[in-house]
């Protein structure tokens, strides 16, 4: 698997530190490099910094120390650099964050039209392709709140894909969904994984991790405790902390 991928990492964390306020040290000396096309699942107890970690990648959160380079651009206060990185990075949130006052189709065409300056017709055609891809094309004219949670999350994925991102970030994409809807979202994500987009996914769906992840990262207290391929991580965790965590989430 690793041979087919470029050796140049697409994301590099170099001793990244982040604090909320003065005393809450949320990311501690993070070193991580992600290869192009790599699919990474990040798990860990709540408050361990996993969401913050991926939110640093598109600068929804700022880091205070260290270097973070995404697709050759270092993230600093420079607004141009941030804009450039955000063009390459799509994100899917736990709470979907669709725009409730716009139809599904308008949610998808908004950014291509206003940021990408694409003509409306072309933007709508491309949006319909993405909606078909997440199997929800027939809902294009509805408003987000008229859809089920699973459908909304699939729209959110399609919206992110409309920007043709090189990297996709998923922040607990199935945590707000009813059990019956989790599968339809995971199916879409698994289909995406075969298309070579670099994916970083915060999730506790261990089945998904086993099916698509190249690497599982386990975090606790702002640090990366352990990282390994899914098979070894689940069957033979190295640290006591990951063993304990796995026994809790797989124990029943």
């Amino acid at each position: 698997m690793a041979e087919t991928k470029s050796t140049q990492p697409i994301i590099t964390f170099d001793k990244v530190n982040k604090w909320y306020g003065n005393n809450f040290h949320v990311l501690r000396d993070i070193d991580l490099s992600v290869a192009k096309g790599e699919r990474i699942v990040i798990c860990g107890p709540s408050g361990s910094g996993k969401s913050t970690l991926i939110r640093c990648i598109n600068r929804l959160e700022e880091h205070q120390q260290g270097h973070l380079i995404v697709d050759g651009v270092e993230l600093t206060d420079d607004v141009k650099a941030i804009d450039q990185v955000r063009k390459e990075v799509g994100m899917v949130f736990q709470q979907f964050n669709l725009f409730p006052h716009l139809t599904v189709l308008e949610n998808l065409t908004l950014s291509p039209m206003w940021v990408g300056k694409m003509p409306k017709k072309e933007a709508e055609e491309k949006a319909m392709i993405q909606l078909k891809r997440v199997r929800i094309a027939e809902q294009a004219g509805k408003y987000p709140l008229q859809l089920s949670g699973g459908q909304q999350q699939r729209v959110a994925i399609a919206r992110a894909l409309c920007l043709k991102p090189k990297i996709m970030l998923f922040d607990e994409p199935t945590s707000a969904l009813d059990p019956e809807m989790i599968k339809e979202v995971l199916d879409v994500m698994i289909a995406m994984a075969d298309e070579g987009i670099t994916m970083l996914c915060v999730t506790h769906e261990m089945g998904f991790a086993k099916a698509v992840a190249d690497r599982v990262i386990f975090m606790d207290q702002g640090q990366i405790v352990e990282q390994n391929n899914p098979h070894d991580f689940f069957n033979n965790p190295q640290s006591e902390r990951s063993k304990d965590f796995l026994s809790k989430i797989l124990g029943h």
Binding site: R86, Q95, N97, H101, L110, L145, L163
Partner: protein, 367 residues
């Protein structure tokens, strides 16, 4: 082991009838002995008073413009005062023979106001129409060209003044309020504190004192010889006053927008202004339509305070017209009923319009 098939129980109608007029009366008017008792009591009071009011207002009322008829024994309301004085109530101190000018000007402005509320007129040329109508309004009212005599702004009055002051201050205060509301949430401390100070200063004083300052104090600080029209000064005063309140209403809406909306917009690459214009403001404003309309209505009525600086709008013109005439002075209450009706028509239309707007903006929330 055999799997049992799931068989849904068919839906049945409710055992007690809950729809229709009979059920409504039963549950709302005659629910138990307490509601029945209050229904009877309130019904009795209405039966006692409503005929008396109708009798006073219509049956024994005097409609002729003769004050002697009104003073006669057993006469109810004296609507003659309106028939006699409606010109001065509606147009104030504007010269009597020239009152066709404010009539046309006000009709135009009111028509434009109504048109601006309708979706089918929301085109790019609407602001141009405003510019055109306002120009005509001022030209007609002020005159001093093509044979029209000059009428100074301090003689403008009555309904034209009320409508001019309220429509201009409402139209102008809205954009100011938007900017101030956004400014109070800005990341830049200078902008944030400037907006906060503005809002707190204006909210800290009554409108009357703002008008007083605009009208009497402000000229003292101007260099000798410069004159700013009193109407303009008052207009600026009302606008700035209304904008401060409006800004707070809008800020309430802004605060109700979840952080995730802005984050999603950021990940899609939208700029700050694009995010505000297309994501945050449409949702925030939709949420505070009732509050905005509340402010509009209250500003509309607050224009009656300009009497304090000798501008005689509707309320002022009524007092001016009737108090100056000893014969009609006892019947000013009927005059108040008359202008109350005018105020009510405007305010009630605004309130109905706000309901319509609410329905429009909440379409996306229907399931």
């Amino acid at each position: 082991m055999n799997a049992t098939t799931f068989q849904p129980i068919p839906a049945r109608p409710a055992p007690v009838n809950t729809e229709g007029p009979v059920a409504w009366v039963k549950s709302n008017l005659m629910g138990d002995w307490k509601t029945t008792l209050s229904t009877v009591l309130i019904g009795a009071v209405l039966l006692w008073y409503v005929p008396q009011i109708i009798n006073w207002a219509f049956i024994t009322a005097s409609w002729a413009p003769r004050y002697e008829a009104c003073s006669a024994e057993g006469v109810g309301a004296c609507w003659g005062v309106i028939t006699e004085k409606y010109r001065i109530i509606l147009f104030g101190r504007y010269p009597y023979e020239e009152q066709w000018r404010p009539l046309i000007a006000t009709t135009l402005l009111t028509g434009l106001l109504v048109a601006s509320c309708m979706r089918r007129f929301w085109h790019l040329w609407l602001p141009l129409m405003w510019l055109a109508v306002l120009t005509i309004f001022f030209a007609l009212m002020y005159g001093n060209f093509g044979g029209l005599t000059k009428v100074e702004t301090d003689r403008w009055g009555g309904l034209p003044l009320t409508i001019l002051l309220s429509s201009l201050s409402l139209v102008l205060c809205f954009p100011i309020a938007l900017v101030v509301a956004l400014g109070r949430r800005s990341k830049l401390p200078a902008i944030r504190s400037f907006c906060t100070i503005y809002v707190e200063l204006i909210r800290g004083v009554p409108l009357i004192s703002v008008l007083f300052m605009a009208s009497f104090m402000f000229p003292l600080f101007m260099p000798q010889g410069t004159q700013i029209d009193v109407l303009l000064r008052v207009l600026v005063g009302i606008t700035l006053f209304a904008a401060a309140y409006m800004a707070e209403v809008i800020r309430g809406g802004l605060q109700a927008i979840p952080k995730g909306q802005v984050e999603a917009a950021a990940t899609l690459g939208l700029s700050y202004w694009q995010t505000q214009r297309m994501i945050v403001l449409p949702q925030a404003l939709a949420m505070v339509v009732p509050g905005i309309m509340n402010n509009f209505i209250s500003t509309f009525k607050d224009t009656s305070l300009v009497t304090i600086v000798s501008l005689y709008e509707l309320t002022g013109a009524l007092k001016l017209g009737i108090n100056s005439d000893a014969n009609w002075r006892p019947f000013i209450i009927e005059g108040y009923f008359f202008i109350a009706l005018i105020y009510f028509v405007f305010c009630f239309s605004m309130s109905r319009y706000s309901r319509w707007v609410e329905k429009q903006v909440n379409k996306s929330k229907l399931r």
